[in-house]
């Protein structure tokens, strides 16, 4: 009891102190909140992404900022939990963030409801709501460079190509092993649409999060003997799936993963057992020889300023973090072109910048992404900007590209996006933006 009496006043004063610590917004710096998860079941996959993201921000500061405006950032641990992500968002909101990247589809749904009121654009490179590509309804969402429907579509295209063409896929069986969450369910509408059009059978096999026990799922795969398995998992579910596939003898060459199921943490423990496993990439793959990687190593890691281990630089998820950060920064830069170079941009202004992003190949090459990325050009109606993907395959040691550049089929994608976006608009009583609204 004695120690209790001593400890209690200390705790109370500490609490009072920390409660009065005001969050001060730096007026001369552009603030970027980093919602990341480095712990929990998805930590091993979230950590390289966060490292890449932060490294790119640091690189920007080393290069003098965006037209002289330096970037300040703060990381907040969300643990892939929606409530914690929302809490992080609320806490960092007062610092005038330029944009928010949630790295979680669940959190994207929640923050999409809050962002318009707070005037903060939500950038979701390769995740989030697929229908948010429709900028006329989703003014504040930017799923730049690709959404889940793009991924699903191009995976099916790759499968069709392997069989010959779309007609050869008729009568085949494709199983979707997916994470039982909004993230995992995203591709289902598009895959059902394609299945209807081309006549292949789609089998849906949900895996309860976090996906450590998949024996029953893969026994079902063994019984059904699908021609292909599409893996839509995140975190430990991916490596478990590949291990179970090996244990039930399902050929890994017939497996195609989404871009969140095709990175080093998913396969490096299985090594040769994952040989032949394919995954779709959102433009970039593992690019250890690219210019941006060389720059990051030279400017940051060789000086001891890098976040995370050096070996990670150039890996798939690390690069995705770099790309996500780059897209956000270019959005700020584009905003500065209109609203004042060298000035700190508000969330609204950054939104305009993200909506008018024009990353030509020349610009991308200059930034160091030569051969890694293809041009991205957003507009008022199209917040996605590009739909380029490739397939890469694990050869036991590293990821190797095994396909050309592919694009999602607009004929299928656009109507689906519009229909789903319309449904959202009627539910929320929103009016579709017209040409005039786009000028702001």
């Amino acid at each position: 009891m004695k120690t209790f009496k001593l400890v209690l006043p200390v705790l109370l004063t500490a609490f009072a102190l920390s409660a009065t610590t005001t969050v001060h917004a730096q007026s001369k710096e552009q603030f970027v909140p980093v919602l990341s998860y480095r712990t929990g079941p998805y930590g091993p996959n979230g950590t390289p992404w966060a490292n890449g993201f932060v490294d790119y921000l640091k690189l920007m500061n080393v290069k003098g900022g965006i037209n002289g405006v330096k970037i300040s950032y703060e990381e907040c641990e969300t643990g892939y939990d929606t409530a914690r992500s929302v809490e992080c968002y609320e806490r960092l909101k007062s610092k005038n963030p330029s944009f928010v990247q949630t790295l979680s589809t669940g959190a994207t749904f929640a923050i999409t409801e809050k962002a318009p009121g707070d005037k903060i654009p939500v950038v979701t490179v390769g995740y989030g709501r697929s229908e948010s590509a429709d900028g006329a309804v989703f003014k504040w969402n930017f799923p730049i460079a690709g959404t889940y429907w793009v991924a699903a579509d191009t995976i099916l295209q790759a499968i069709a190509k392997k069989e010959g063409d779309w007609s050869s896929i008729k009568g085949k069986k494709i199983a979707l092993v997916y994470h039982d969450s909004p993230f995992g369910k995203e591709p289902i509408p598009l895959m059902q649409e394609r299945s209807r059009i081309h006549g292949f059978e789609l089998q849906l096999l949900p895996v309860t999060a976090p996906g450590v026990e998949q024996k029953a799922t893969w026994l079902q795969v063994r019984q059904a003997r699908p021609d292909y398995v599409v893996l839509w998992g995140w975190g430990v579910m991916n490596s478990t799936a590949i291990k179970e596939a090996q244990a039930t003898g399902y050929p890994r060459e017939k497996m195609y993963g989404v871009w969140w199921a095709g990175a080093e943490p998913d396969v490096k423990d299985v090594a040769d057992g994952a040989k032949g496993y394919n995954a779709v990439t959102i433009q970039h793959g593992a690019e250890p020889n690219s210019d941006i990687v060389k720059t990051l190593l030279a400017q940051l890691h060789s000086k001891g300023q890098g976040t995370g281990p050096k070996e990670e630089v150039g890996q798939v998820l690390y690069l995705r973090g770099v790309m996500s950060a780059m897209i956000g920064i270019e959005g700020i830069r584009a905003a500065q072109e209109r609203f004042g170079k060298g000035k700190v941009m508000t969330g609204e202004q950054v939104r305009w910048g993200l909506e008018n992003l024009n990353l030509t190949q020349a610009k991308l090459d200059a930034l160091g992404f030569k051969g890694v990325m293809r041009p991205i050009s957003t507009s008022c109606m199209d917040h996605m900007g590009a739909a380029w993907t490739r397939i890469h395959t694990w050869d036991g040691q590293k990821w190797v590209f095994t396909s050309d550049w592919m694009q999602a089929d607009e004929q299928i994608l656009k109507p689906l996006v519009k229909a789903t976006a319309d449904k959202y608009a009627t539910e929320k009583k929103l009016v579709r933006r017209t040409g005039q609204d786009c000028q702001s």
């Binding site: 409660a19 712990t39 929606t82 749904f109 949900p206």
Partner: protein, 358 residues
């Protein structure tokens, strides 16, 4: 000395039976309510509302519900997250499907859905006791997890399974500002706390406590175990269901089934144990502790590290939070196994006899 009830004579039955028989208590509670309703809205920042006050109020309600089941009736339940989920989705379905459904009835109907679910999954308590019951209630938790992911009807057939609500209005006033949300939740909390306190003081409450202490003896003297246990489950699930629907509608705004996972159940149980089982106040204290501790640690640890001169990564903070949380729970249980409410009553007792030691 401060707390003596000298001179306070009760001259009528209502005076004798009131909830706060001591005048100082009444004054304190009135002041507290005044501060909560009138003063806090002026002084609290946006962040305080969204991150601390609103979650605290809603969790206090949920902890109240759990306390009725676990603390007063002695049935350990690890399925509280499921009851919150059923309340939330029930309220959502009534709100979204019935045109022009007002908010308050939707929330209460959600609570009634949770009641039905709670009574159904409370049936095993008639046969199974103690730890076995605790693990059996996990069946409710995982079943609810699965049901809301798989049965599309509950989420209005959205492909993703994520639902959201907006444009909430109660009695014509819209609930878009933080202050209005806070006041709405607080009002509901005060009403439910009053009802719970009176239930617990009455015959049903005494039946629950008899079942908790020795259910065979209670049956012998004529208390029907089925009625008592199931009513505990029913009342408790109703309160937890309303709290769950508030959590979803007001705090989250947009949610998916993983918001009500087994972690939430454990959190609620922690609140009850740390706050003090078998006391209405315990729910409040426990909720305050569990809601505020992570946020406090999140701010405090980097500050301490900054003072000591080194920067710590979010990973370290996150792990340290886990460790400190675990250590504090163990420490609390060693120091005061009956929870914060017991500490509170010890404090009151000390104030009564001060300056004498006993």
């Amino acid at each position: 000395m401060f707390y003596r009830e000298n001179g306070q004579f009760k001259t009528s039955y209502p005076q004798d039976q009131q909830i706060f028989p001591i005048a100082q208590d009444r004054v304190f509670v009135v002041l507290l309510l005044l501060v909560a309703f009138a003063a806090v809205p002026f002084f609290a920042s946006d962040y305080m509302f969204r991150a601390i006050l609103i979650p605290f109020v809603i969790m206090a309600m949920a902890a109240l519900g759990v306390n009725i089941l676990v603390g007063y009736c002695g049935q350990i339940s690890l399925g509280s997250g499921a009851f919150m989920a059923v309340g939330a989705y029930g309220a959502y379905n009534f709100f979204a499907r019935v045109p022009e459904m007002p908010l308050l009835p939707a929330l209460l109907l959600g609570g009634l859905c949770a009641t039905a679910f709670g009574v159904l999954f409370g049936l095993p308590s008639l046969r199974v006791r103690g730890l076995y019951l605790a693990v059996a209630t996990l069946a409710a938790q995982f079943f609810a997890d699965w049901m809301f992911l798989r049965v599309k009807w509950f989420t209005l057939d959205t492909p993703s399974g994520s639902v959201s609500v907006s444009n909430l209005q109660v009695f014509g006033m819209s609930l878009d500002s933080d202050v209005s949300k806070y006041l709405f939740c607080l009002t509901l909390l005060v009403v439910i706390a009053l009802l719970a306190k009176n239930l617990v003081r009455g015959a049903i409450g005494r039946e629950w406590m008899a079942i908790r202490d020795m259910d065979v003896a209670a049956a012998v003297i004529g208390i029907r175990p089925m009625y008592a246990k199931l009513s505990a489950f029913a009342v408790s699930s109703f309160i937890i269901g309303v709290a769950g629907s508030l959590w979803a509608f007001i705090y989250l705004g947009s949610w998916e089934p993983s918001a009500f996972s087994v972690d939430q159940s454990f959190r609620l149980l922690f609140m009850v144990i740390i706050g003090g089982m078998g006391s209405i106040m315990g729910g409040f204290l426990g909720a305050a502790f569990i809601v505020i501790l992570p946020i406090f640690l999140n701010q405090f640890l980097p500050m301490v590290a900054g003072l000591a001169g080194f920067e710590i990564s979010t990973t370290v903070v996150s792990h340290a939070e886990l460790m400190i949380f675990g250590a504090m729970i163990v420490w609390f249980l060693i120091v005061e196994p009956h929870g914060l409410a017991k500490l509170w009553s010890i404090g009151k007792q000390k104030m009564r006899v001060w300056p004498f030691p006993y």
